[in-house]
Amino acid sequence: MRSFSRHTGLVVPLDGANVDTDQIIPKQFLKSIRRTGFGDNLFDAWRYLDEGEMGMNPNERRIDHDFVLNLPRYAGGSVLLARRNFGCGSSREHAVWALLEYGFRCVVAPSFADIFATNALKNGLLLVALAEEVVSALFAHTHANEGFSLTVDLPAQQIAGGGFSTRFDIEPERKRLLVNGLDDIALTLRHVDAIRAFEQDRRRRAPWVFEDAPV
């Protein structure tokens, strides 16, 4: 897993609550069997004026110049500012892969959907949840100040920039996982004996769980 420690980046304000994973990466791109190749199609239906299909050359597509990601002042942004319940909807991890591949390292919003949050953690995308008023103030500040950047310091749990500074909460374990970029599967496999013992016991308690149906 990719680790996250400190990051400074341009803030991109994506206004609107309940941004769902169907918007983050539309379904036609889920046909891929790889983990890469999603960055050009992040927010596809919002970024482009034509209908996107897999394998299209982004340079030949019609760009929606009004969409925030396409505004020159936000080019190269790596901190996404969003509203509440970001990432709701489908479990597609492709949403996280697309955000990372586009260049986002961190998303700041009042709240995140559960499965999306887990997927983000597994891939080293930092989610920072801040109070609704603080996020609103950040939106105003971003709109008013071209080039507004934030520095996110995960070990210090501090997010700051342009005279703004606040602490954010994160579960210590999640933080440790992110900062160290630990291999999630390896972490569980440290308990391989416990899993084996548990499985044996479960087989005894609930043998029907282990019955395979006749083919």
């Binding site: 489908s90 440290r190 149906a213």
Partner: protein, 471 residues
Amino acid sequence: MTGSTLYDKIWRDHAVAEREDGSTILYVDRHLLHEVTSAQAFEGLALAGREPWRPGANLATPDHNVPTTNRAAGIGGIADPIAKAQVLALDENCKRFGIRQFEMTDIRQGIVHVIGPEQGATLPGMTIVCGDSHTSTHGAFAALAHGIGTSEVEHVLATQCLAQRKSRNMRIVAEGALGRGVTAKDLILAIVRAIGTAGATGHAIEYAGSAVRALSMEGRMTLCNMSIEAGGRAGMVAVDDTTIDYLRGRPFAPSGAMWNAAEAHWRGLVSDADAVFDREVALDAGAVVPQVTWGTSPELVLGVDEAVPQPEQFEDPAKRELCERALAYMELTPGVPIASVPVDRVFIGSCTNGRIEDFRAAALVLQGRQVASSVTQAMAVPGSGLVKKQAEDEGLDEVFLAAGFEWRDPGCSMCLAMNEDRLYPGERSAATSNRNFEGRQGYRGRTHLVSPAMAAAAAVAGRFTDVREML
């Protein structure tokens, strides 16, 4: 000491150990796989030189990407080469890793969340996961079931476990009797409207109350299916006679002495009378009318007798903005009765409403009636090959065909439009699926979620209409 909730009990029954990061290692009894979220997980597994921990725990089937016509042609019948590669990848991975798959041409193939219960692969007290958010469906059997991402799919394959944090407990109690023509779908849409799409975030939901007890297993699956639309990862219903009766004799369910032992255990899968929930929501089921969503979020719902709202009706500025955006995308005018809005395509199917009772309910409305000429296409897509066969044995296919519906082969189809079944820009659907997000059923398409009976009624009327007047 206070009692335990159903969720607490299943959690406790599967907790293996605490990991250094504070999460609990939870043992996974059943893992369902499909073509869209598994390829990268199998690849990761192979790259790390790992093997599936317990191949027998897994059951796979292609569903999201398969065409719903010409099924006999199998994978060769998939026109889109990229989609075909994905279905082939599932096939190869299942063979390579020794995982049971219901292949495209197998009559047991279908949407994962339809086939699990149908086969009895979904059993009470199990932990069940799948790389799909609607895994919550299986909670209808008092199982702890939820959707996971691809990294977690790999994790489950490699360890037979999931690293999890315990959710909070939430109970939604629906008392009273649903009226004639009002279904589980209407009940869950009313619930999502009441609590919002983030209403149950961080919670495992238990549905209770006399209205829930009165539902069939299929109705309970519809209810639990859309828990994710309310923000909950899992939704469940306690075991009762309805649960037990449904499972008896299913292929993966135990039999003989083992059945008796299992049943005795399952009967205890209810929340204790003195269990405490972190949140409780009550709903009067008798007051629920047939529902229609009008916007681009499943919480933007109306009773069929209501009108499209004005943004000013919402006090919360975020909701007002959501409403404005939805009105523009859906091209709807505030104040217009939802029952006057015309539909272009009708879709009956999906893991929410693609089971036999759903087709029976729709056929009851379609019997002796015709799809309106203004409707471009009306599609009935069974949730599995076995649902399709059962419907045909009952003669339902003839009712659909006579009314002007297409009778398709099983798959996710126009629920998410990864195959050819879709809305075209500007078109409007009446759909029995679960999501009305922008572009969900096709680029710039507009989706209205309804029950199967309401979808059939809309097909006949050419617009949304109160199905109760047709029963």
